[in-house]
Amino acid sequence: MRETFTKGMARNIYYGGGVFFFLVLIGLTVDTVVSLPKTDNSENLTEQVAAGKRLWERNDCIGCHTLLGEGAYFAPELGNVYTRFGESTEAIKGFIKSRPKNGIPNRRSMPQFNFTDEELEALAQFLKYSDGIKTARDWPPNIQG
């Protein structure tokens, strides 16, 4: 680089740019958090849904599935599974309950988690709540996730 562009100038761009854009990020974060109630389906965020989220975490579901596109890519997207399963929490519960303990030869299979009925209901309600979040352009692109 030429001498007209000094180290001092580079340093100032670093500090100035870094601080400025960090403040921009904080400002946008505040705005985002404030406007979340419009999209986040928090009116349906019940105790049961929260319990479902804990179960989701305690069993590391994100280690195979994506939820709103984030997670692992080994198993189907679940942000719209409620819609895909015909808006039926019973269908979701039935699927989870019916997984064979020793898997399926040569195929991927979800483990059998031996959930209680109460746990199954909480998990299904959590997935229903997630499906109710208003994502931009109604992502995912279609029902297949």
Partner: protein, 458 residues
Amino acid sequence: MKYESQGVAKLYFIAAIGLFVGQILFGVIMGVQYISGDFLFPEIPFNVARMVHTNLLIVWLLFGFMGSAYYLVPEESERELFSPFLAKLMFWVFLVAGALTILGYLLVPYATLAEITMNDLLPTMGREFLEQPTITKIGIVIVALSFLFNIGMTILTGRKTVITLVLLTGLAGLAVFFLFSFYNPDNLILDKYFWWFVVHLWVEGVWELIMASLLAYVLIKVTGVDREVIEKWLYIIIAMALISGLVGTGHHFFWIGTPDYWQWLGSIFSALEPIPFFMMTLFAFNVVNKRRRDHPNKAAVLWALGTAVMAFLGAGVWGFLHTLAPVNYYTHGTQITAAHGHMAFYGAYVMVVLTMISYSMPIMRGHKASNERAQVFEMWSFWLMTVSMVFITLFLTGAGILQVYLQRYSEAPLGFMVTQDKLAIFYIMREVAGLVFLAGLIVYILSFFVKGKEVEVI
């Protein structure tokens, strides 16, 4: 080695390489599971293998960063490390905590691990990359703070250079942003939003500061180019990293229920994110061309140049490929993301740590560089790992494009599992490339034991 305390880095590097091997073994296991879904089921389900694979990566890179800092800082600061004892103590604390966590993943069901470690008191587990039990997370914070204290005291009471100050800023940022891993609200969007404050602001923010300063340090050492020139480059690279990367976080906020303006902001700023990586490439080639000496450690120079190129390809090019919102609408959460993740992590962070190891390990073992035969082995491992990673990325990209078409783009979208079956050939080829990577890693380890005519003793 100018300062005796730099030697603690050796411990860190040996642990890093050991954990790297574990990471790759689990990668290979998952590769098989992508082909034959019931492999090792139900003993090691995919999610467990993945946790081990990604967590080992994070832990060994952290070992690599810490080792690099312990090696570089005394020399730059022109004084011994503030407390070599603390550095060694924290090494063992981190290693034991890391090993116990990995064993926990493998030996008991994850839900049991959550119960044993009392996750309910402060639930932080079960989120991607942050699967560690809360108690491990607290351990990480303690190790990180002790490390920062040790490094900080050394830097602030010694000669301050641009490299050490940038490194310190990056490491401090690493520790600070990790604190967001303790925030886990019930509201899924909030949870996801602030989860990125750890993940994105690490790998597309403060880690770039660490990476750039490590690269700058090695380049000064192996080329003898004037420090003023290198520091100017360093500043402008990290300036661009922060200017693009901070608001660039927005490319993760397209489809998680966050406001629409992120589509524009995320697209525009993350489209700028390749710039700092491209500058790193220019920088590395520029200073190597202007070198004032031919350093006998040719392998280290190769790693340094390789880091710059591969980081640009993996993080820059493959990141840009799917970062614009209209493209990401189709590619979000597909094998395209996996392709990008693999080459970006390898090119930027794996390679920069291996660059530091390549430069410093021979010196810590009493030579300016490894003997020629050992360097030939090391360079072979460079090419085997790097080329196979390029192929892993290409096969996953192929899988991803097909997946996007079949599952999301075509007139009659197919279901997830039906689509996966049609991607089998790509997964098989990816696994072959993965095995070549493993072979490259074995050659890499052998390179430390190859005997030959030693280069001048220092």
